[in-house]
Symmetry: C2
Subunit: 446 residues, 2 copies
């Protein structure tokens, strides 16, 4: 008999159904047994009137009933079973007002009786057993939200004629900083893992693609252990031509996020509130914009002195700025704009008439940076000058500089961390929770 | 004035417009100049009545006209320009029946006068200058098709409650063969680049995700230089639970491809015929299925002896089988099923009662393999046995084997190479043409 997903049972009439999933709990009472079965769509109560012993005149049906009772008594948590039985609608059943009375039970795959993690296990221990940790309904919901979020991003872009590209992750040189670069043996030479698709999404502009996007892994040999960093993460990237300034990038960025949040709220809003206690709403447009210099003043006026000397905000400064924006504008997002050239990469375009500032922004969401965007410098001689100034050797960048020598339109774009957005959306404490399999300096397994 | 894409000009009335793109050709006649301007959406003829010299009583307008004329004479191929002028509909103009008479011309980004590649450049040379090569309308179309194809795949899956996952590309051990593995320094130890998401998409099954997909890079340290291999490629992967056999996987796979081909034919069918001379159609369902043993007989009956001793088909055998299928069933696709265990990985499930055959298939399209699919072995003791038989150390696979010890549903899936599908769809000779930036043993640049 065809399997029915648990979420599809409610509209069915009473009658025979087949369900399949894993055993969440067993309540093995003397006269009656209850099993909570969970599948990818929900949870269901199964019931079985226990047959504990056979009379001398037991028939086949009674023997089968005894076998089912004993099988249920032996079910370990997590065991995969397929069950056929009678669906009954019963309002008294807390779990969705439904119950299935077991007629046949097949143990498809047994679980070891001792589950290695429990509800109070540490995050690190849960990550050791991530495939069991992901069975929690909250964890599964995170990745259903991820699916909806990404599909909405891509749909927004596809509807606007963006081209999806897959840039190579194997490179001949660094694209960002040499300090956080993974190096590998590549046949007779060396290769490096891409830290971002920056150079190659820019390449699409002289290539005449107009507008491109990519959602793909990026790699940073970053030895830090914060809740916001990973050695491998999913980067959401867009880049497009014929912009006038970073304002055009921000305008697309905020519209894109509003579209994606709309999809998530519509599809998962109620579940997010039920499982995470978060009342998610669609951000209003435009997002507030605050120049970095002004952001510093706001944070300082709030009584906090950012302990960095390079002019950037620190995490506490970001939190305080976001709190101020929330209080003043009622907004969860804020674009911090016009970063100083000293703390931006060489390829950010600088202000016309003030080389100390860049046409760039960071996007903060609920107190944490999720994205950096900018207009790029497309004039090759200026680009070379800026690279030199940052201590880079233009000779090593020749392949990249060539992109700017045969005609290139003004362009810009952004990169955004998927796991960070989800972490902040759901009020979670670490990107380890919103990454399918986290990778850090001491974590390569499972 | 706001830029209008060239493809959006046709419905506009005569009047002032601004367009921007790169110079494809300049025809610099004495009395009149023609420029073909191309942008991401199409090509347009610009016209300028030449002003070659100024009279003694020249006014500002005449001086401006001279400046435009001289600017046009100096335009190198590829230069990015922004032009404002008068749009005129004129049926005599071959290029779309449109012309813009230049009023203002801004050179936004100059190109070096010597373009390093030409129409007759070798593929290898074109790849050296890929960002210029991609300006060809055929090349741009490939990636617009890619965009439509992938979006249709994901939409099919999202509509059916598949979850999108991002599996890590950094691994502690090999997932396929140790022979084609990239190794890197990872802090104090070693890591390996993922050859496929196999283990981790399977992990989603005991995790209770039900159905998952991923489109992401995969890496093979494959020293071969064929038209079908790369060291980095985009892998399209799906995996789902509660299947009865590989037949369930094939049924999803063919439905998925029909959906994606439908989207491509609808959106790009006419352009594909115009630029590639290919009349693309949507494949009918079901695709033909031929067991491998029978495929060998067909090829042999056609007069070809496959020169391999391991029982697999070779590329010529695949071409001949596909030609037979095309002739017999009129179909471009064929599932070759029931591969021998000896030529399949340890995780493929074997036939019940005949361990020599697997519940697996290869999918051939227009004569070449594009995908491998299978039901997976989910019984841990059988899996360990099969791993041992292949010479693998179960101790090295512990993290993977754990996935099968706490309850796992029967499951299966496939992996499919994106660039191969596009190459075969468009009748191209190499995946280098359908990969944004190809990576091979001797190619890491640009």
């Amino acid at each position: 008999m065809t399997r029915t997903l648990i979420k599809n049972l409610a509209p069915l009439p009473a009658g025979t159904v087949t369900v399949a999933g894993w055993v969440e709990t067993v309540r093995d009472q003397k006269k009656v047994q209850f099993v909570v079965l969970r599948d990818e769509s929900g949870a269901l109560q199964l019931v079985n009137p226990a047959t504990r012993e056979l009379g001398e005149d037991a028939d086949d049906a009674q023997r089968a009933a005894l076998a089912i009772t004993e099988a249920i008594s032996g079910l370990a948590h997590g065991t995969m079973v397929r069950v056929t039985g009678e669906l009954k609608h019963d309002e008294r059943v807390k779990l969705g007002g439904l119950e299935v009375k077991i007629a046949e039970l097949e143990v498809v795959s047994e679980a070891l009786p001792e589950t290695p993690i429990a509800d109070d296990s540490s995050l690190d221990k849960r990550l050791d057993w991530r495939f069991l940790d992901l069975r929690r309904p909250e964890a599964a919901l995170i990745f259903r939200i991820q699916t909806t979020f990404e599909h909405a991003l891509r749909t927004y872009w596809v509807d606007r004629d963006f081209i999806e590209i897959h840039t190579p992750k194997l490179m001949a040189s660094a694209s960002e900083s040499r300090a956080e670069l993974f190096e590998l043996e590549y046949f007779e030479g060396k290769a490096y893992l891409s830290q971002s698709p920056q150079f190659f999404k820019q390449m699409a502009q002289p290539a005449g693609f107009g507008r491109v996007f990519e959602i793909a892994p990026a790699f940073r040999a970053d030895p830090s252990f914060t809740s916001r960093h990973a050695t491998e993460f999913t980067s959401i990237d867009a880049e497009f031509s014929w912009i006038d300034s970073h304002e055009d990038v921000m305008a697309m960025h905020e519209e894109l996020l509003a579209a994606a949040f709309t999809a998530v709220v519509e599809k998962h809003g109620a579940e997010i509130e039920a499982l995470f206690g978060v009342e998610l709403s669609v951000p209003t447009l435009p997002f507030p914009r605050i120049p970095l210099a002004e952001a510093h003043e706001i944070v300082k006026a709030g009584g906090y002195e950012v302990p960095r000397t390079d002019g950037d905000l620190d995490p506490e400064g970001e939190r305080r700025l976001s709190a101020h924006v929330k209080e003043t504008y009622g907004h969860d997002f804020v674009f911090v704009t016009d970063y100083a050239s000293g703390i931006r990469p060489f390829y950010h375009m600088r202000h016309e008439g003030d080389a100390g500032l860049t046409n760039s922004y960071d996007l903060l969401y609920n107190g944490t940076e999720i994205s950096t965007g900018a207009q790029r410098e497309h004039r090759v001689e200026v680009l070379i000058e800026q690279a030199r100034e940052k201590g880079l050797e233009p000779e090593e960048l020749e392949f990249y500089l060539d992109f700017f020598r045969y005609g290139v339109p003004p362009h810009g774009g952004f990169g955004m961390g998927l796991a960070r957005v989800l972490m902040l959306m759901l009020g979670l404490g670490s990107i380890r929770e919103t990454t399918y399999l986290f990778r850090g300096p001491t974590r390569l397994l499972p």
